[in-house]
Symmetry: C2
Subunit: 334 residues, 2 copies
DNA sequence: TTGAAAGCGTTACCAC
DNA sequence: GTGGTAACGCTTTCAA
């Protein structure tokens, strides 16, 4: 348990200055090759461990990129995170992850914690933030990327897609296949802003296409998943058959709804059509396959990586907006 | 917008010393209550953000706990991670997350990166590691917790359950319900060690209970999920009906298998029984509900938090092993 | 209740 | 090629 071994100790052992040790360990060509080798050897013998905290402190570069996600427990966000990790680990960048639990207040608190670590960039999910939080990041010269959305008033760079446009694809598809009486199944008003945007988009798309008013089925507070979809449909009972189609906020919710319908003996899509969102694995494997929208979670991650690369290479490039788009994936539930 | 705002700047604005600001921001009772309030106000007005890097440097405590997971894209691991985050964020501890993609070599590389950040503890998933990696952590005085397993030769603390014991519960249940010809559906030999342990446990449990040799169905390289389960069963065709029961390495795989069976017109459980593992959401919502094993992903996280608390409070407590157990959850597929 | 001084381990900058 | 000096922002320690 002695004091830790520092560059100074290595320097004394080698009989050179700490400065030379520092250079040698970084493989600086400036340092004589023999010296470099000797320094490395001695450092290893002494059990020297490089202290990146000191480095981060001295250079004011943390090597961190901070990321906020609504939840890790969502296959799509997890996929984006995986792509980020893979893309950035080569660059020697570490991700600092925080999850907001779909609450902007929690996001503000989280961002405050994350900023204290001096990240070199901040990647946020979505475009809804508290005013305090906007101030917080704008006061700094910190590159910000908002993803999974196309915010009207972005903080910086954007990599996402239009949730509203995606829902229009769904509604148009349902209209084309002869459905008129739609219900939207999603979370209660509030926390999940992307969910709210999707709901509103369905409501207004239905209006503009001359359909009856869309019914809103509340599956409970966000985040909602399979079991919430199943529970709310179960609670409604066979009443649900008065709708032509259940437009669900996500594939897991859609799967839950479908499972409940099937348990009641109702046929999908003959009695009721169902659509999901996000092309989760369950949409493709469920029986019948769920009609959904592919949102390229992986590509969002890759594009964010590419934007970050540009930021780190050129110091302050113009802010960019990249729309990764979305595509209807017709399954067997419509 | 030049240099960052430091305590010194806040101090000048308030007309006091940086030392007082430091104390005030930490809510030190030593500081006059009015002064504290004023300091907080001024700090906020100036947009001051605390610098944890400097703190870590000065105090020689990073405030990090490093965590490795096989994959974030797994609801159970994500749930454990969520519990860890929630439990530790109050303590002001940040998690450094890395994912190993189910490869011990990748784990070694990852741990190397993570250790450079001076974490105050290391939380690993599973008990299989490279020798290099074992050396790496044992050289340091670093608290280590292995979770999701009960390793024979632990590196330090352990919070997990016996994968083998869990599979015995499954086999016994199948025997009780009259099944004899079992097949195990899992990943190819290699990467996912918990999967391998489960498979071996099924094979030997079947032997010891006098069942015929268990057939092994290879769903491809780890990680395997819904679509791999579906694909491998689809490829087998109705041949699969020669088995009494498909024992699957996880619930998603079980769901995939079940979906494929149903598409072929086979009945679950009448023609073939199916079991999963992990009590994923899909097990409960699928139709029929999948018989599975509950492994308390959330409790694993909470217990790890509690062990970490003990470690941080008392400096070096004896290493502990906590078995969170597992329980059979009988569904409708057996 | 407040403040001054020192220093944590590293590296930028200049001098030799 | 190598080394001396100073500094990054904070908190420990001691003094007032």
């Amino acid at each position: 348990m002695g004091a830790r071994v520092t560059m100074r100790d290595v320097a004394e052992a080698v009989g050179m200055s700490p400065m030379t040790v520092s250079r040698a360990l970084r493989d600086d060509d400036m340092v004589n090759a023999k010296t470099r080798a000797r320094v490395r050897q001695v450092a290893q013998d002494l059990g020297y461990v490089y202290d990146s905290t000191s480095q981060a402190f001295r250079t004011q570069k943390s090597g961190f990129v901070a990321v906020t996600l609504p939840s890790v427990n969502n296959a799509n966000f997890a996929e984006t995170f995986r792509a980020l990790t893979n893309g950035l680990s080569e660059a020697g960048v570490q991700l600092l992850l925080g999850s907001t639990n779909y609450r902007v207040e929690r996001e503000e608190e989280l961002v405050r914690q994350l900023l204290a670590r001096n990240p070199e960039a901040l990647v946020l999910t979505g475009g809804h933030h508290t005013d305090e939080m906007r101030k917080l990041v704008q006061d700094r010269q910190l590159p910000v990327i908002e993803m999974w959305d196309l915010p009207a008033d972005p903080l910086g760079h954007v990599v996402g897609f239009s949730n509203a446009r995606a829902m229009e694809l769904i509604v148009d598809h349902l209209v084309t296949t002869g459905r008129r009486k739609l219900a939207f199944v999603g979370a209660s008003e509030g926390a999940d802003m992307r969910g709210v945007v999707r709901r509103d988009a369905v409501v207004s798309a239905a209006r503009s296409r001359g359909l009856p008013e869309v019914a809103l089925i509340d599956a409970g507070p966000a985040p909602v998943s399979m079991r919430h979809g199943a529970a709310v449909i179960e609670a409604m009972g066979r009443d649900v058959a008065k709708f032509d189609a259940l437009v669900c906020v996500s594939d897991p919710v859609a799967f839950g709804c479908m499972s409940a319908l099937q348990r009641m003996g109702l046929q999908v899509p003959d009695d009721v059509a169902i659509t999901g969102f996000g092309q989760f694995e369950v949409a493709k494997v469920a029986n019948p396959r769920i009609t959904t929208v592919n949102v390229n979670a992986d590509e969002i991650g890759q594009q964010v990586v590419s934007v970050l690369r540009d930021i780190f290479d050129a110091d302050a490039p113009a802010t960019v907006t990249r729309d990764v788009g979305s595509a209807l994936v017709v399954g067997e539930t419509t």
